[in-house]
Protein backbone atom coordinates (compact mmCIF):
# COMPACT_ATOMS: atom_id res chain seq x y z
CA UNK A 1 0.00 0.00 0.00
CA UNK A 2 1.68 3.19 -1.20
CA UNK A 3 0.10 6.54 -0.50
CA UNK A 4 1.01 9.94 -1.95
CA UNK A 5 -0.02 12.95 0.15
CA UNK A 6 -0.26 16.42 -1.36
CA UNK A 7 1.25 18.83 1.13
CA UNK A 8 1.27 22.60 1.00
CA UNK A 9 3.97 24.60 2.70
CA UNK A 10 2.56 27.94 3.77
CA UNK A 11 3.58 30.99 5.79
CA UNK A 12 2.56 30.62 9.43
CA UNK A 13 -1.19 31.43 9.42
CA UNK A 14 -0.74 33.10 12.81
CA UNK A 15 0.91 35.99 10.95
CA UNK A 16 -1.48 38.04 8.82
CA UNK A 17 -1.47 37.36 5.07
CA UNK A 18 -0.16 39.92 2.61
CA UNK A 19 -0.39 40.49 -1.12
CA UNK A 20 2.56 41.66 -3.16
CA UNK A 21 1.54 45.15 -4.39
CA UNK A 22 3.32 44.56 -7.73
CA UNK A 23 2.34 41.04 -8.67
CA UNK A 24 -0.79 40.81 -6.51
CA UNK A 25 0.14 37.30 -5.50
CA UNK A 26 0.30 35.98 -1.96
CA UNK A 27 3.57 36.91 -0.29
CA UNK A 28 5.26 33.70 0.84
CA UNK A 29 8.30 34.85 2.71
CA UNK A 30 9.93 33.69 5.90
CA UNK A 31 9.96 30.13 7.12
CA UNK A 32 7.20 27.97 5.71
CA UNK A 33 5.36 25.36 7.73
CA UNK A 34 3.24 22.44 6.63
CA UNK A 35 -0.37 23.56 6.33
CA UNK A 36 -2.06 22.25 9.46
CA UNK A 37 -4.93 20.89 7.38
CA UNK A 38 -2.44 18.56 5.63
CA UNK A 39 -1.44 16.85 8.89
CA UNK A 40 -4.70 14.87 8.76
CA UNK A 41 -3.84 13.43 5.34
CA UNK A 42 -0.34 12.52 6.50
CA UNK A 43 -1.73 10.78 9.59
CA UNK A 44 -4.40 8.98 7.56
CA UNK A 45 -1.74 7.78 5.11
CA UNK A 46 0.50 6.50 7.90
CA UNK A 47 -2.40 4.59 9.47
CA UNK A 48 -3.52 3.04 6.16
CA UNK A 49 0.01 1.92 5.27
CA UNK A 50 0.44 0.51 8.76
CA UNK A 51 -2.84 -1.39 8.53
CA UNK A 52 -1.92 -2.76 5.10
CA UNK A 53 1.23 -4.20 6.65
CA UNK A 54 3.72 -2.24 4.59
CA UNK A 55 4.34 0.37 1.96
CA UNK A 56 5.44 3.95 1.75
CA UNK A 57 4.00 7.39 2.34
CA UNK A 58 5.36 9.96 -0.10
CA UNK A 59 4.79 13.67 0.41
CA UNK A 60 4.43 15.76 -2.73
CA UNK A 61 4.77 19.52 -2.55
CA UNK A 62 5.36 22.54 -4.74
CA UNK A 63 7.21 25.47 -3.20
CA UNK A 64 9.56 28.27 -4.22
CA UNK A 65 13.26 28.42 -3.35
CA UNK A 66 13.75 24.70 -2.61
CA UNK A 67 11.79 25.23 0.58
CA UNK A 68 11.58 21.97 2.56
CA UNK A 69 10.94 23.04 6.16
CA UNK A 70 7.23 22.31 5.85
CA UNK A 71 7.92 18.94 4.22
CA UNK A 72 10.17 18.05 7.15
CA UNK A 73 7.16 18.52 9.47
CA UNK A 74 5.39 15.70 7.62
CA UNK A 75 8.50 13.53 7.40
CA UNK A 76 8.93 13.94 11.17
CA UNK A 77 5.44 12.50 11.64
CA UNK A 78 6.67 9.39 9.84
CA UNK A 79 6.25 9.87 6.09
CA UNK A 80 9.01 8.00 4.23
CA UNK A 81 10.08 10.43 1.55
CA UNK A 82 9.22 13.59 -0.31
CA UNK A 83 9.05 15.00 -3.80
CA UNK A 84 9.54 18.76 -4.02
CA UNK A 85 8.78 20.68 -7.17
CA UNK A 86 10.66 23.96 -7.03
CA UNK A 87 11.12 26.11 -10.09
CA UNK A 88 11.01 29.89 -10.63
CA UNK A 89 8.85 29.18 -13.69
CA UNK A 90 6.01 28.19 -11.37
CA UNK A 91 5.50 31.67 -9.90
CA UNK A 92 1.94 32.83 -10.45
CA UNK A 93 0.55 29.41 -11.39
CA UNK A 94 -3.20 28.98 -11.07
CA UNK A 95 -4.74 25.89 -9.48
CA UNK A 96 -4.85 24.00 -12.79
CA UNK A 97 -1.18 24.72 -13.52
CA UNK A 98 -0.29 23.58 -10.02
CA UNK A 99 -2.41 20.44 -10.47
CA UNK A 100 -0.49 19.62 -13.65
CA UNK A 101 2.89 19.59 -11.94
CA UNK A 102 1.59 17.81 -8.83
CA UNK A 103 -0.02 15.10 -10.98
CA UNK A 104 3.25 14.63 -12.89
CA UNK A 105 5.22 14.49 -9.62
CA UNK A 106 2.82 11.97 -8.03
CA UNK A 107 3.31 9.67 -11.05
CA UNK A 108 7.04 9.41 -10.33
CA UNK A 109 6.29 6.83 -7.64
CA UNK A 110 3.89 3.91 -7.55
CA UNK A 111 0.76 4.70 -5.58
CA UNK A 112 -2.56 3.13 -4.62
CA UNK A 113 -4.07 6.22 -3.08
CA UNK A 114 -3.58 9.98 -3.21
CA UNK A 115 -4.64 12.05 -0.21
CA UNK A 116 -5.05 15.81 0.08
CA UNK A 117 -6.75 18.29 2.37
CA UNK A 118 -10.16 19.60 1.31
CA UNK A 119 -8.61 23.02 0.82
CA UNK A 120 -5.55 24.96 1.91
CA UNK A 121 -5.63 27.37 4.82
CA UNK A 122 -4.13 30.27 2.88
CA UNK A 123 -5.62 30.03 -0.61
CA UNK A 124 -8.65 27.75 -0.22
CA UNK A 125 -9.57 27.45 -3.87
CA UNK A 126 -10.58 23.87 -3.08
CA UNK A 127 -10.52 22.52 -6.64
CA UNK A 128 -6.89 21.43 -6.92
CA UNK A 129 -7.25 17.83 -5.63
CA UNK A 130 -10.07 17.04 -8.04
CA UNK A 131 -8.08 18.57 -10.91
CA UNK A 132 -5.17 16.28 -9.94
CA UNK A 133 -7.55 13.28 -9.89
CA UNK A 134 -8.85 14.12 -13.37
CA UNK A 135 -5.33 14.53 -14.77
CA UNK A 136 -4.33 11.16 -13.29
CA UNK A 137 -7.55 9.46 -14.46
CA UNK A 138 -8.58 8.63 -10.89
CA UNK A 139 -11.96 8.53 -9.16
CA UNK A 140 -12.18 10.97 -6.27
CA UNK A 141 -14.13 11.25 -3.06
CA UNK A 142 -13.96 14.69 -1.45
CA UNK A 143 -14.73 15.75 2.14
CA UNK A 144 -13.99 12.40 3.76
CA UNK A 145 -14.65 12.14 7.48
CA UNK A 146 -13.87 8.42 7.67
CA UNK A 147 -11.67 6.34 5.36
CA UNK A 148 -11.06 2.60 5.20
CA UNK A 149 -9.89 0.08 2.67
CA UNK A 150 -11.66 -3.27 2.60
CA UNK A 151 -11.64 -6.02 -0.05
CA UNK A 152 -9.47 -3.85 -2.29
CA UNK A 153 -12.12 -1.12 -2.26
CA UNK A 154 -12.05 2.33 -0.81
CA UNK A 155 -14.89 3.09 1.61
CA UNK A 156 -15.42 6.66 2.70
CA UNK A 157 -17.95 8.56 4.77
CA UNK A 158 -18.36 11.84 2.92
CA UNK A 159 -19.86 14.99 4.41
CA UNK A 160 -23.05 16.25 2.81
CA UNK A 161 -25.30 19.23 3.47
CA UNK A 162 -27.72 16.99 5.34
CA UNK A 163 -25.36 14.58 7.10
CA UNK A 164 -23.07 12.12 5.38
CA UNK A 165 -23.01 9.55 2.58
CA UNK A 166 -21.24 6.21 2.54
CA UNK A 167 -19.31 6.20 -0.74
CA UNK A 168 -17.25 3.43 -2.35
CA UNK A 169 -14.86 3.40 -5.27
CA UNK A 170 -12.11 1.37 -6.87
CA UNK A 171 -8.39 1.91 -6.25
CA UNK A 172 -6.24 3.75 -7.15
CA UNK A 173 -8.18 6.83 -6.13
CA UNK A 174 -7.89 10.31 -4.66
CA UNK A 175 -9.49 11.33 -1.37
CA UNK A 176 -9.67 14.73 0.30
CA UNK A 177 -9.87 14.53 4.07
CA UNK A 178 -11.48 16.89 6.56
CA UNK A 179 -9.84 17.83 9.81
CA UNK A 180 -12.03 15.42 11.75
CA UNK A 181 -10.89 12.26 9.94
CA UNK A 182 -8.08 11.28 12.34
CA UNK A 183 -6.11 12.79 15.20
CA UNK A 184 -2.65 13.71 13.85
CA UNK A 185 0.26 12.51 15.96
CA UNK A 186 2.87 14.90 17.28
CA UNK A 187 6.29 14.18 15.84
CA UNK A 188 8.58 12.50 18.38
CA UNK A 189 12.11 13.77 18.96
CA UNK A 190 13.36 10.65 17.18
CA UNK A 191 11.01 11.41 14.30
CA UNK A 192 12.26 14.98 14.01
CA UNK A 193 15.88 13.80 13.95
CA UNK A 194 15.13 11.05 11.42
CA UNK A 195 13.28 13.50 9.16
CA UNK A 196 16.49 15.42 8.53
CA UNK A 197 18.00 12.52 6.62
CA UNK A 198 14.92 11.29 4.78
CA UNK A 199 15.17 11.60 0.99
CA UNK A 200 13.53 14.56 -0.75
CA UNK A 201 13.62 14.34 -4.52
CA UNK A 202 13.79 17.89 -5.85
CA UNK A 203 12.56 18.35 -9.40
CA UNK A 204 11.93 21.13 -11.89
CA UNK A 205 9.08 21.56 -14.33
CA UNK A 206 11.31 20.27 -17.12
CA UNK A 207 12.24 17.17 -15.07
CA UNK A 208 8.54 16.36 -14.87
CA UNK A 209 8.09 16.67 -18.61
CA UNK A 210 5.48 19.41 -18.15
CA UNK A 211 5.44 22.19 -20.74
CA UNK A 212 6.64 25.40 -19.05
CA UNK A 213 4.08 27.37 -21.05
CA UNK A 214 1.34 25.51 -19.11
CA UNK A 215 2.44 26.82 -15.71
CA UNK A 216 3.35 30.06 -13.96
CA UNK A 217 1.68 33.39 -14.66
CA UNK A 218 1.98 32.77 -18.40
CA UNK A 219 0.11 29.49 -18.20
CA UNK A 220 -2.47 30.84 -15.79
CA UNK A 221 -5.88 31.57 -17.20
CA UNK A 222 -6.64 34.20 -14.60
CA UNK A 223 -5.23 37.36 -13.10
CA UNK A 224 -6.00 39.72 -10.27
CA UNK A 225 -7.08 43.12 -11.46
CA UNK A 226 -7.92 44.98 -8.29
CA UNK A 227 -7.46 44.66 -4.56
CA UNK A 228 -9.42 46.88 -2.22
CA UNK A 229 -9.85 46.83 1.54
CA UNK A 230 -13.36 45.65 2.41
CA UNK A 231 -15.64 48.14 4.03
CA UNK A 232 -14.78 47.59 7.66
CA UNK A 233 -17.55 46.27 9.75
CA UNK A 234 -17.22 48.63 12.67
CA UNK A 235 -16.70 47.14 16.07
CA UNK A 236 -19.60 48.23 18.25
CA UNK A 237 -19.96 48.52 21.96
CA UNK A 238 -17.78 46.27 24.08
CA UNK A 239 -18.68 45.65 27.72
CA UNK A 240 -16.70 43.73 30.28
CA UNK A 241 -18.93 41.37 32.23
CA UNK A 242 -19.13 42.18 35.89
CA UNK A 243 -22.06 39.92 36.54
CA UNK A 244 -24.81 41.71 34.62
CA UNK A 245 -23.61 41.98 31.01
CA UNK A 246 -26.41 39.61 29.99
CA UNK A 247 -28.72 42.60 30.54
CA UNK A 248 -26.91 44.45 27.76
CA UNK A 249 -27.66 41.53 25.45
CA UNK A 250 -31.32 41.49 26.49
CA UNK A 251 -31.55 45.24 25.82
CA UNK A 252 -29.86 44.81 22.43
CA UNK A 253 -32.25 42.00 21.45
CA UNK A 254 -35.20 44.15 22.56
CA UNK A 255 -34.01 46.99 20.41
CA UNK A 256 -33.88 44.59 17.45
CA UNK A 257 -37.36 43.38 18.37
CA UNK A 258 -36.09 39.81 18.65
CA UNK A 259 -37.45 39.84 22.19
Amino acid sequence: MNVAVCVKQIPDPATPGKLDPETKTLVREGKLIMDDSDSYGVEMALQLVDKAGGGEVTLVSMAPNSEVSGLRNGLAMGAHKGVLISDPALKGSDALGTAKVLAAAIKRNEFDLVLAATESTDGYTGTLPVQVAELLGLPSITFAKHVEIADGKLKVNRQTEAGYDEVECSLPALVTVTAGVVEPRYPSFKGIMAAKSKPVDEVTVADLGVDVAQVGQGGSGQELVKVTPAEERKAGEVVVDEGDAHQNIVAFLEKLKVL
Binding site: P16, K24, L96, A99, T118, E119, Y124, T125, G126, T127, L128, P129, V130, Q131, A133, E134, G137, L138, P139, S140, I141, T142, K145, Q159, T160, E161, G163, Y164, D165, E166, V167, E168, C169, A179, G180, G221, Q222, V225, V227, T228, P229, A230, E232, R233, A235, G236, E237, V238, V239, D241, D244, H246, Q247, N248, I249, V250, F252, L253, V258, L259
Partner: protein, 323 residues
Protein backbone atom coordinates in the same frame (compact mmCIF):
# COMPACT_ATOMS: atom_id res chain seq x y z
CA UNK B 1 -17.59 40.48 -25.38
CA UNK B 2 -21.14 40.00 -24.36
CA UNK B 3 -22.17 36.74 -22.80
CA UNK B 4 -24.26 34.69 -25.20
CA UNK B 5 -24.75 31.50 -23.21
CA UNK B 6 -24.34 30.62 -19.54
CA UNK B 7 -24.59 27.12 -18.12
CA UNK B 8 -25.61 26.57 -14.52
CA UNK B 9 -24.86 23.46 -12.45
CA UNK B 10 -28.38 23.14 -11.00
CA UNK B 11 -28.28 21.21 -7.75
CA UNK B 12 -31.51 20.07 -6.14
CA UNK B 13 -32.51 18.33 -2.94
CA UNK B 14 -35.82 16.70 -2.03
CA UNK B 15 -37.51 17.77 -5.24
CA UNK B 16 -36.56 21.44 -4.94
CA UNK B 17 -33.67 23.39 -6.45
CA UNK B 18 -31.14 24.44 -3.80
CA UNK B 19 -31.48 28.17 -3.03
CA UNK B 20 -28.00 28.71 -4.51
CA UNK B 21 -29.19 27.25 -7.82
CA UNK B 22 -31.82 29.99 -8.07
CA UNK B 23 -29.27 32.61 -6.98
CA UNK B 24 -26.96 31.56 -9.83
CA UNK B 25 -29.78 31.64 -12.40
CA UNK B 26 -30.78 35.13 -11.25
CA UNK B 27 -27.22 36.42 -11.59
CA UNK B 28 -26.82 34.72 -14.97
CA UNK B 29 -29.91 36.59 -16.18
CA UNK B 30 -28.36 39.87 -15.14
CA UNK B 31 -25.20 39.05 -17.13
CA UNK B 32 -27.33 38.52 -20.25
CA UNK B 33 -27.62 35.86 -22.91
CA UNK B 34 -29.47 32.58 -22.70
CA UNK B 35 -29.30 30.32 -19.67
CA UNK B 36 -29.14 26.54 -19.72
CA UNK B 37 -29.31 24.43 -16.56
CA UNK B 38 -27.73 21.01 -16.03
CA UNK B 39 -29.63 18.62 -13.78
CA UNK B 40 -29.55 14.97 -12.77
CA UNK B 41 -31.32 12.56 -10.47
CA UNK B 42 -35.03 12.06 -9.88
CA UNK B 43 -35.80 15.76 -9.44
CA UNK B 44 -35.25 17.15 -12.96
CA UNK B 45 -38.88 17.15 -14.08
CA UNK B 46 -40.07 18.46 -10.75
CA UNK B 47 -37.64 21.38 -10.64
CA UNK B 48 -37.77 22.40 -14.33
CA UNK B 49 -40.61 24.94 -13.81
CA UNK B 50 -38.70 26.63 -10.98
CA UNK B 51 -35.55 26.76 -13.12
CA UNK B 52 -37.60 28.33 -15.93
CA UNK B 53 -39.20 30.82 -13.57
CA UNK B 54 -35.68 32.01 -12.68
CA UNK B 55 -34.49 32.36 -16.25
CA UNK B 56 -33.39 28.99 -17.63
CA UNK B 57 -34.75 28.36 -21.11
CA UNK B 58 -33.25 24.91 -21.50
CA UNK B 59 -32.50 22.04 -19.14
CA UNK B 60 -29.97 19.32 -19.90
CA UNK B 61 -31.11 16.34 -17.84
CA UNK B 62 -28.64 13.55 -17.14
CA UNK B 63 -31.29 11.45 -15.42
CA UNK B 64 -30.51 8.77 -12.87
CA UNK B 65 -26.77 8.58 -12.15
CA UNK B 66 -27.09 5.20 -10.44
CA UNK B 67 -25.78 6.61 -7.18
CA UNK B 68 -22.58 8.01 -8.72
CA UNK B 69 -21.26 11.22 -7.16
CA UNK B 70 -22.41 13.85 -9.70
CA UNK B 71 -19.10 15.70 -10.17
CA UNK B 72 -17.59 13.34 -12.75
CA UNK B 73 -20.71 12.47 -14.81
CA UNK B 74 -21.93 16.07 -15.03
CA UNK B 75 -18.49 17.43 -15.94
CA UNK B 76 -18.02 14.63 -18.48
CA UNK B 77 -21.36 15.38 -20.13
CA UNK B 78 -20.55 19.10 -20.22
CA UNK B 79 -17.10 18.42 -21.69
CA UNK B 80 -18.63 16.11 -24.31
CA UNK B 81 -21.15 18.80 -25.29
CA UNK B 82 -18.34 21.36 -25.59
CA UNK B 83 -16.27 18.94 -27.69
CA UNK B 84 -19.33 18.51 -29.91
CA UNK B 85 -19.51 22.25 -30.54
CA UNK B 86 -21.46 23.79 -27.67
CA UNK B 87 -19.77 27.04 -26.65
CA UNK B 88 -20.97 28.41 -23.33
CA UNK B 89 -19.14 31.61 -22.42
CA UNK B 90 -19.57 30.96 -18.74
CA UNK B 91 -20.30 27.94 -16.55
CA UNK B 92 -21.49 28.68 -13.03
CA UNK B 93 -21.16 26.21 -10.16
CA UNK B 94 -22.17 26.62 -6.53
CA UNK B 95 -19.39 26.31 -3.94
CA UNK B 96 -20.95 23.12 -2.59
CA UNK B 97 -19.35 19.68 -2.31
CA UNK B 98 -20.63 18.45 -5.65
CA UNK B 99 -20.32 21.87 -7.31
CA UNK B 100 -16.63 22.09 -6.49
CA UNK B 101 -16.06 18.52 -7.67
CA UNK B 102 -17.69 19.26 -11.00
CA UNK B 103 -15.86 22.58 -11.44
CA UNK B 104 -12.47 20.96 -10.82
CA UNK B 105 -13.21 18.05 -13.12
CA UNK B 106 -14.45 20.25 -15.97
CA UNK B 107 -11.49 22.59 -15.57
CA UNK B 108 -9.01 19.74 -16.08
CA UNK B 109 -11.08 18.14 -18.86
CA UNK B 110 -11.31 21.24 -21.04
CA UNK B 111 -8.05 22.84 -19.83
CA UNK B 112 -9.62 26.05 -18.58
CA UNK B 113 -8.93 27.99 -15.41
CA UNK B 114 -11.53 28.03 -12.64
CA UNK B 115 -12.18 30.78 -10.11
CA UNK B 116 -13.72 29.61 -6.86
CA UNK B 117 -15.29 31.21 -3.79
CA UNK B 118 -16.68 34.06 -5.87
CA UNK B 119 -19.04 36.44 -4.08
CA UNK B 120 -19.62 38.84 -6.96
CA UNK B 121 -19.82 38.67 -10.75
CA UNK B 122 -20.08 41.43 -13.30
CA UNK B 123 -19.08 42.37 -16.83
CA UNK B 124 -16.42 45.02 -17.26
CA UNK B 125 -16.16 45.68 -20.97
CA UNK B 126 -15.28 42.32 -22.49
CA UNK B 127 -13.96 40.92 -19.22
CA UNK B 128 -15.80 39.02 -16.55
CA UNK B 129 -15.03 40.56 -13.18
CA UNK B 130 -15.11 37.96 -10.44
CA UNK B 131 -15.10 39.28 -6.87
CA UNK B 132 -13.67 37.38 -3.91
CA UNK B 133 -13.19 38.15 -0.25
CA UNK B 134 -9.83 37.16 1.20
CA UNK B 135 -8.06 37.32 4.56
CA UNK B 136 -11.26 36.86 6.53
CA UNK B 137 -13.16 39.19 4.21
CA UNK B 138 -10.95 42.15 5.14
CA UNK B 139 -9.83 42.51 1.52
CA UNK B 140 -11.85 42.33 -1.67
CA UNK B 141 -10.14 41.03 -4.76
CA UNK B 142 -11.35 41.26 -8.33
CA UNK B 143 -9.97 38.65 -10.67
CA UNK B 144 -10.62 38.02 -14.33
CA UNK B 145 -9.97 35.34 -16.91
CA UNK B 146 -7.13 36.05 -19.32
CA UNK B 147 -7.83 33.32 -21.82
CA UNK B 148 -10.69 32.14 -24.00
CA UNK B 149 -13.85 30.69 -22.48
CA UNK B 150 -15.65 28.76 -21.29
CA UNK B 151 -14.97 30.61 -18.06
CA UNK B 152 -15.58 28.48 -15.00
CA UNK B 153 -16.66 30.09 -11.73
CA UNK B 154 -17.73 28.54 -8.43
CA UNK B 155 -19.85 30.96 -6.41
CA UNK B 156 -20.46 30.94 -2.67
CA UNK B 157 -24.09 30.46 -1.62
CA UNK B 158 -25.95 33.62 -0.54
CA UNK B 159 -23.79 35.88 -2.67
CA UNK B 160 -26.85 37.05 -4.62
CA UNK B 161 -30.56 37.32 -3.94
CA UNK B 162 -32.72 35.04 -6.08
CA UNK B 163 -35.68 36.55 -7.94
CA UNK B 164 -38.11 35.21 -10.50
CA UNK B 165 -38.20 36.38 -14.09
CA UNK B 166 -41.61 34.90 -14.78
CA UNK B 167 -40.10 32.71 -17.47
CA UNK B 168 -41.98 29.73 -18.88
CA UNK B 169 -41.10 26.13 -18.18
CA UNK B 170 -37.89 25.34 -20.07
CA UNK B 171 -37.42 22.68 -22.69
CA UNK B 172 -35.89 19.57 -21.15
CA UNK B 173 -33.39 17.58 -23.16
CA UNK B 174 -32.22 14.19 -21.99
CA UNK B 175 -28.44 13.82 -22.10
CA UNK B 176 -26.61 10.53 -21.81
CA UNK B 177 -23.52 10.34 -19.61
CA UNK B 178 -20.36 9.47 -21.54
CA UNK B 179 -18.35 6.46 -20.37
CA UNK B 180 -16.39 7.82 -17.42
CA UNK B 181 -14.29 4.68 -16.85
CA UNK B 182 -12.56 4.41 -13.48
CA UNK B 183 -12.99 8.13 -12.76
CA UNK B 184 -16.73 7.66 -12.40
CA UNK B 185 -16.55 4.68 -10.05
CA UNK B 186 -17.36 6.57 -6.84
CA UNK B 187 -20.87 5.51 -5.85
CA UNK B 188 -23.03 6.38 -2.85
CA UNK B 189 -24.13 3.19 -1.15
CA UNK B 190 -26.08 4.80 1.69
CA UNK B 191 -27.11 8.31 2.77
CA UNK B 192 -27.43 9.41 6.37
CA UNK B 193 -29.47 12.46 7.33
CA UNK B 194 -28.68 14.09 10.63
CA UNK B 195 -32.03 15.41 11.82
CA UNK B 196 -32.23 18.77 13.52
CA UNK B 197 -35.02 20.67 15.15
CA UNK B 198 -36.25 24.19 14.46
CA UNK B 199 -35.46 26.45 11.52
CA UNK B 200 -32.66 25.59 9.08
CA UNK B 201 -29.29 27.07 9.90
CA UNK B 202 -28.99 29.02 6.66
CA UNK B 203 -32.58 30.26 6.75
CA UNK B 204 -32.97 31.16 10.43
CA UNK B 205 -33.53 34.75 11.53
CA UNK B 206 -31.42 34.17 14.64
CA UNK B 207 -28.34 31.97 14.83
CA UNK B 208 -26.60 31.11 18.10
CA UNK B 209 -23.22 29.44 17.63
CA UNK B 210 -20.78 27.83 20.01
CA UNK B 211 -17.03 27.39 19.79
CA UNK B 212 -14.04 26.00 21.58
CA UNK B 213 -14.60 28.45 24.46
CA UNK B 214 -17.48 26.28 25.64
CA UNK B 215 -14.78 24.01 27.03
CA UNK B 216 -16.56 20.68 26.62
CA UNK B 217 -19.14 18.99 24.41
CA UNK B 218 -21.87 18.91 27.09
CA UNK B 219 -21.91 22.69 27.29
CA UNK B 220 -23.20 22.95 23.72
CA UNK B 221 -26.67 22.28 25.15
CA UNK B 222 -26.83 25.88 26.40
CA UNK B 223 -26.22 27.12 22.87
CA UNK B 224 -29.11 24.95 21.68
CA UNK B 225 -31.33 26.14 24.52
CA UNK B 226 -30.65 29.81 23.76
CA UNK B 227 -31.24 29.21 20.05
CA UNK B 228 -34.57 27.54 20.80
CA UNK B 229 -35.68 30.36 23.11
CA UNK B 230 -34.97 32.87 20.35
CA UNK B 231 -36.68 30.65 17.75
CA UNK B 232 -33.36 30.40 15.96
CA UNK B 233 -30.91 27.75 14.83
CA UNK B 234 -27.82 26.47 16.64
CA UNK B 235 -24.50 26.73 14.80
CA UNK B 236 -20.90 25.87 15.54
CA UNK B 237 -17.32 26.75 14.72
CA UNK B 238 -15.21 24.28 12.77
CA UNK B 239 -13.10 23.56 15.87
CA UNK B 240 -15.92 21.88 17.79
CA UNK B 241 -17.28 20.10 14.72
CA UNK B 242 -13.84 18.64 14.04
CA UNK B 243 -13.60 17.72 17.72
CA UNK B 244 -16.79 15.71 17.25
CA UNK B 245 -18.92 17.71 19.74
CA UNK B 246 -21.64 18.48 17.19
CA UNK B 247 -22.53 17.17 13.74
CA UNK B 248 -21.05 18.82 10.68
CA UNK B 249 -24.46 20.09 9.57
CA UNK B 250 -24.12 22.75 12.32
CA UNK B 251 -20.88 24.22 10.99
CA UNK B 252 -20.75 27.89 10.04
CA UNK B 253 -17.77 29.11 8.03
CA UNK B 254 -15.64 28.67 4.97
CA UNK B 255 -16.11 24.91 4.81
CA UNK B 256 -19.52 25.03 6.45
CA UNK B 257 -22.63 27.08 5.91
CA UNK B 258 -22.80 30.76 5.08
CA UNK B 259 -25.41 32.44 7.24
CA UNK B 260 -26.86 35.93 7.02
CA UNK B 261 -29.35 36.11 9.88
CA UNK B 262 -30.78 39.22 11.50
CA UNK B 263 -28.90 38.34 14.70
CA UNK B 264 -25.83 36.15 15.14
CA UNK B 265 -24.72 35.31 18.67
CA UNK B 266 -21.21 33.86 18.93
CA UNK B 267 -20.57 32.07 22.23
CA UNK B 268 -16.95 31.23 22.98
CA UNK B 269 -15.87 31.71 19.36
CA UNK B 270 -12.60 33.53 18.78
CA UNK B 271 -13.41 34.50 15.20
CA UNK B 272 -10.86 32.73 13.00
CA UNK B 273 -10.90 33.76 9.33
CA UNK B 274 -12.51 30.46 8.41
CA UNK B 275 -15.47 31.29 10.70
CA UNK B 276 -15.81 35.00 9.91
CA UNK B 277 -16.25 34.27 6.21
CA UNK B 278 -19.41 32.35 7.01
CA UNK B 279 -21.14 34.83 9.33
CA UNK B 280 -19.82 38.30 8.65
CA UNK B 281 -22.87 39.08 6.55
CA UNK B 282 -25.18 38.90 9.59
CA UNK B 283 -27.07 42.15 10.17
CA UNK B 284 -26.27 42.20 13.88
CA UNK B 285 -23.51 40.33 15.68
CA UNK B 286 -23.27 39.70 19.40
CA UNK B 287 -20.11 38.06 20.72
CA UNK B 288 -19.36 36.61 24.12
CA UNK B 289 -15.73 35.64 24.70
CA UNK B 290 -13.37 35.83 27.63
CA UNK B 291 -10.43 37.00 25.53
CA UNK B 292 -10.71 40.73 24.93
CA UNK B 293 -8.27 40.42 22.01
CA UNK B 294 -10.38 37.85 20.14
CA UNK B 295 -10.90 38.88 16.48
CA UNK B 296 -14.65 38.28 16.80
CA UNK B 297 -14.93 41.57 18.73
CA UNK B 298 -13.72 43.51 15.69
CA UNK B 299 -16.94 42.61 13.86
CA UNK B 300 -19.37 42.50 16.81
CA UNK B 301 -22.02 45.18 17.27
CA UNK B 302 -22.20 44.16 20.91
CA UNK B 303 -19.21 42.46 22.48
CA UNK B 304 -19.29 40.98 25.97
CA UNK B 305 -15.89 40.22 27.44
CA UNK B 306 -16.75 37.48 29.89
CA UNK B 307 -17.10 33.81 30.64
CA UNK B 308 -19.73 32.12 28.43
CA UNK B 309 -20.46 29.72 31.27
CA UNK B 310 -21.65 32.64 33.39
CA UNK B 311 -23.12 35.02 30.80
CA UNK B 312 -25.13 32.55 28.72
CA UNK B 313 -26.98 30.81 31.60
CA UNK B 314 -27.93 34.22 33.01
CA UNK B 315 -29.09 35.33 29.58
CA UNK B 316 -31.21 32.19 29.25
CA UNK B 317 -32.76 32.79 32.69
CA UNK B 318 -33.45 36.44 31.89
CA UNK B 319 -35.21 35.53 28.64
CA UNK B 320 -37.22 32.78 30.35
CA UNK B 321 -38.23 35.19 33.10
CA UNK B 322 -39.86 37.40 30.48
CA UNK B 323 -42.23 34.53 29.81
Amino acid sequence: MAITTTWVFAEAFDGRPLPVTLELLTKARELGGSIEAWTWGPDATAIAPALGAHGATKVHDLGDLGGALPGVPVASAMAAAIAAGAAPDLVLFPTTYDGRDAAGRLSAKIDRSVLTNAIDLGLDGDKLKVGHAIFGATMLVDATFTGAGPWLVAVRPKSFAASESGGASPSVETVSVPDTGATGSAVVTQSHVEEREGPKLDEADVVVSGGRGLGEADKYSMVEELAKLLKGAAGASRAIVDAGWVPYSHQVGQTGKTVKPNVYIACGISGATQHLVGMKGAKNIIAINKDQEAPIFAVADLGVVGDVHKVVPKLIEAIKARG
